[in-house]
Symmetry: C2
Subunit: 194 residues, 2 copies
Amino acid sequence: MGRWEPDARGRLEQAALELYAAQGFDQTTVAEIASHAGLTERTFFRHFADKREVLFGGGALADGLAAAVDAAPESQPPLDAVIAALESLSDFFEERHTHAQRRQKVIAANPSLQERELIKLASLSTAMAGALRRRGVTEPAASLAAETGVAVFKVAFERWLDDARKRTLAQHIRESLDELRTVTAVPRRSTKRA
Amino acid sequence: MGRWEPDARGRLEQAALELYAAQGFDQTTVAEIASHAGLTERTFFRHFADKREVLFGGGALADGLAAAVDAAPESQPPLDAVIAALESLSDFFEERHTHAQRRQKVIAANPSLQERELIKLASLSTAMAGALRRRGVTEPAASLAAETGVAVFKVAFERWLDDARKRTLAQHIRESLDELRTVTAVPRRSTKRA
């Protein structure tokens, strides 16, 4: 209900990130974030469960990824469907490179935020594994494809944040996937051992 | 300092798990755990930082895995070194199958313990990636091999916990690795697309 507040969510995210970066996560209250955004605490809690959650955007990402895996061509192998879903996030992040860099700095400075970040990544993996099972992929292939895809994404995302050459997130995902395939290929010498 | 308390650590772990399973994690105090183990709270805090940590065994696991990767044959490919390190945990866990099952039930019932579990798994990956870099493995291969190894371990561990056929953890790790290699192999049809 409440009054109509144009992009309240985005304003709260922006205000929170500015305050966390300027004065530290622990030192910032929800009241300050709301006031900095020109909104009320009540509005804050309509959008976010707590002060940590404002950095993690709720469950929208997991839902979006699961939907993308659901919509993948029937013949697409599991890992490719997962990677394509993750690549579809690239445009969204591309516009927010500076935002993402500041956010990462805040998270790196605070162990409780690092925990939440890991939980969020795990929830992406769980959501995509579920979507793969709905496509008929059996276990453990579904979980392995989802976990591996998220590992590729995590590595690619870190490299994209630090990338002075400004390649896109999608390019970094593609490179990390190629690297993963090199890393997981059966080593040539193991054929001798077998 | 304090009196000599034979296997205080193991007794506290056992007592904590029994109480968590019987009455719930949130309902159990450190005082109760200590008393159930016939020890003092002071002794508890000499071994564990808090009530969660008693389920996660400190940093010993990460240190052991890093040491195992450090000691791997020079010619061993990164992912194989990581998997061999993780397989070396198998004997330790084999003796504790029932303990591990009860522990997992407690963790599954409590989101804050699931967070700690993810942090611990991430710390294993970080420790092994560091060991790989010391062997001269470059990034992102080092992080990808470590993350992938931990994903394989996680999936294998869950399957081992549920395994009525009682195959060993090492066997499950080996199977999950084979499955991973199938999942990450370049799909045949992509050669047509390229």
